[in-house]
Amino acid sequence: MKIVGLDSLIFGVDDVPGAARFLIDYGLTPVDVSDAGGRFEAIDGTSVVIAREDNPRLPVPPAPGCRLRKTMMGVADGATLQAIAAELRRDREVRVLPDGSIESIDDSNFVIGFRTTVRRPFALPGEISNAPGSVIFRPVNSLGVPPPGTVIRPRSLSHVVYFVPDVLKAEAFYVNRLGFRCTDRFTSTGPFLQPAGSLDHHTHFLIGAPPHMHGVEHFTFHFGGPSEMITNGYRFVEKGYQAFWGPGRHILGSNWFWYFNSPFACHIEMDADMDLHDASWAPREAALSADASQTFLLKMRKKWAPGPGIHENGDYA
């Protein structure tokens, strides 16, 4: 099953203009957006789609209160699409939509879709640090800090995290029916899952949770590196958005993270520099704890500089 990753997440919201402003300030590009909703794209064309929560065309949520209505996955080709349809039709309905995508439901009641991926190839340098001894450096006279005013855009839809009432059942569906692979696991919490067509540490993370939490913990896009992610997150906070956790760096997957509250009844993350793994990778397992979750956690404070006139924590005057 050559599933290459997430193509789009579709949400129903009660405040379309507010959610649209939020996604634009996060860095996504609005495409075909009106007061009724629309699509917000990363550089590679992966996206978040929003619509008014009472829009009858939206699929039903997996549980009351969950605003995620559908998870659209991209696949490599039409043959994969046919193979997924045939596999799922063994025990559930699979609808073919007018755009050629297929739609069904997973074993945790999340509506899932598949289509030949919309991801557009693009070439942009990632962040390179000038580490002494390294064989790779930034070109001489190129700057490490994005100049003021630089537009920072998410590059690609990264992963989604579900709260599921039966994590073993949920994992079995993605592994046995759709060809995902567990890359790492938090004991008694759940697995990080990678589809066969991606090297990302995970596109899905499943968390076992009580039925009343059934829904989404967070979703996120990849940024070009830690400097982009932290600069973008800092700008986001300065615009008044509420940080929840971070910035920091995870251990499983290694990705830099910064989580924020969102109008989607879940967190939204900014991430960068996630590990890549292939089939030779042996999954690790760890008990979930603060120490196992992050290698470090930073705390944001207001901008400050030493020198005359700066009295918050003393100065050099």
Binding site: H212, F244, N261, R301
Partner: protein, 122 residues
């Protein structure tokens, strides 16, 4: 020899004007200058009610998705925008989401004769 018991007299801190919070609106405040809003005030049916900015789902989790955005779109419920918990604005009781039945922590507030909104210094 008996000592005189220490008597602490709570000071009142001005956090804003009551009339700056309209019907069905919310506003966050940081009265003790912690660096982030630790409480918020909601006006419903003309009545101001203040709560700690801390969802009972995850101890101390901040609730707004944007500065002062503690309510749903029609202003009828307080929402924790971490995981969608919804609370009744008059009682602070969670009626939907991951902490159903739990309650927000109320913060005593005073509106003085000039319309200033005051809280006790901790």
């Amino acid at each position: 020899m008996a000592t005189t018991p220490e008597v602490k007299i709570a000071r009142l801190l001005r956090i804003g004007r009551a009339d700056e919070i309209g019907e069905g609106q919310s506003r966050g405040f940081d009265p003790h200058e912690s660096g982030e809003d630790t409480m918020f005030v909601v006006r419903q049916g003309g009545v101001l009610q203040a709560w700690r900015n801390a969802c009972p789902h995850i101890d101390g989790a901040p609730m707004a998705w944007r500065k002062d955005a503690y309510l749903n779109a029609d202003g009828s419920r307080i929402v924790c925008h971490a995981h969608g918990a919804e609370f009744l604005p008059d009682s602070g009781i969670c009626v939907q989401g991951p902490c159903v039945g739990k309650k927000l922590t109320a913060v005593p507030i005073i509106v003085d004769r000039r319309g200033e909104l005051l809280v006790k210094e901790e």
